[in-house]
Symmetry: D2
Subunit: 143 residues, 4 copies
């Protein structure tokens, strides 16, 4: 069972991470070690060629991993990204993006997971990007 709810995550964001709320992210599912997050489409994300910008996709993947980490270790908004590796596989459509995240390891100090990003409605055609990500966890007991 997830150790945090979508509502608790949004409370953290309201208090401390206005940028996430500004992006309009929606948590469609959350379970232990996994989540599905939706990034609505916005014209501002677009780059030459009509595709969604890389930083938009990286930000979504990073945020999905942050949520999935908290689903395993509980409220730990001080967890920080240690590394992130993204591979862009095909041009996303100008529609919403879906991030499917799965934690592959959660240790005492580090959590590691993978995130597949899809154009909404085209999940069967394969991911538009694939990300692996390591988070550094705060010492237990710390906020």
């Amino acid at each position: 069972m997830a150790l945090i709810t979508a509502e608790e995550i949004f409370e953290i964001c309201r208090a401390e991470m206005p940028l996430v709320l500004d992006l309009g992210l929606e948590i469609e599912e959350i379970g232990e070690g996994r989540c599905r997050v939706r990034q609505p489409y916005r014209a501002a994300f677009v780059r030459p060629g009509g595709t969604i910008s890389g930083p938009t996709m990286m930000g979504l993947a990073d945020c999905a991993m942050w949520i999935a980490v908290m689903s395993v270790v509980g409220k730990a908004e001080m967890a920080v990204t240690a590394s992130l590796n993204i591979n862009f596989l095909k041009r996303p459509k100008p529609v919403a993006l879906i991030a499917e995240c799965r934690v592959l390891k959660s240790g005492r100090r580090l959590a590691y997971g993978e995130i597949s990003l899809f154009s909404e409605g085209e999940e069967e055609e394969g991911p538009v990007a694939h990300v692996t990500c390591t988070y550094s966890l705060p010492p237990r007991g710390a906020p």
Copy 2:
């Protein structure tokens, strides 16, 4: 010699990438296969703990590489990020970020480079993040 000027890059951004202009990026130096780009500090970039968000740093690195690639191959705004790997090394100060980018290889189809990110005024204390990045180049003759 760089095959594109800072002014030509801003013209591309004005016409096609308003997001870059919105971030307020400044090109401090540009040479063949290298550039130095400055991201002014903004409160909106901050995440819990008072540090600059990961996506902000990824976006800056990605943009610096895009500029450095064009310094080698000329106007090629259709070049797209194929992959990006970022390692966060220490907590950036709440000040401007500096990206130093260097192209390590520019081939027919791919360009690869590295980017070190520094807190402005603290370059001697080492990078706050280190990035490697591959760009996929459009066929020559294409825009």
Copy 3:
């Protein structure tokens, strides 16, 4: 259906890649865009602490991806690794290693996939390492 058989792969190795045969790799399964490869345990792979060396795991993952790529594009032993990213998740036991590989994208010029490495008999306890890998494909028609 896989476009190459395990036997055809071993023929290529016999003719041109003695190093692979020396490692004693076994192809346990091969399907279109996926394979399962077994690396028998050898004392020479061990490093201080009794664990299997990183290069041994990287070599296995790289080889599994090479096989999975050929399952999609056919005989293409000239396909070469463009990049490989490995994360070591826990100490492997001194037993055989299993690589499960899945191609996530196979394009005209590049193929990208992921590989999970397990200690044999402990697949349920999660991977000991996770790898993502890009192969550069030879032009079609080339050997």
Copy 4:
């Protein structure tokens, strides 16, 4: 000043890592946070197309980072690779490989660095591969 000598490193290898000695690696230089390591050419490293195999290059880079880490933190043969990212930039010649390694951060728990690999005698033509690597450090006081 390096906190370990080349001779001390070879003693560790003789006692515990025969694989490294088998490869015939030579430490050409070692300083604080950097080293230059040479991998003599061997026919067994070759793969189809006459080029040196990826795993050979990964193993050399990993070993160079292990040495550079010990140059900063002292004898710490239990330091283990946490992640490694390699980009292959051009086909190496069938000659010796040179690894130039530089530690970019050495913290309490992790060390991060970069390694450029060159074909010996062709350093001016740029690296044949570029690697970034994170090592997990044993608690201080531990062997």
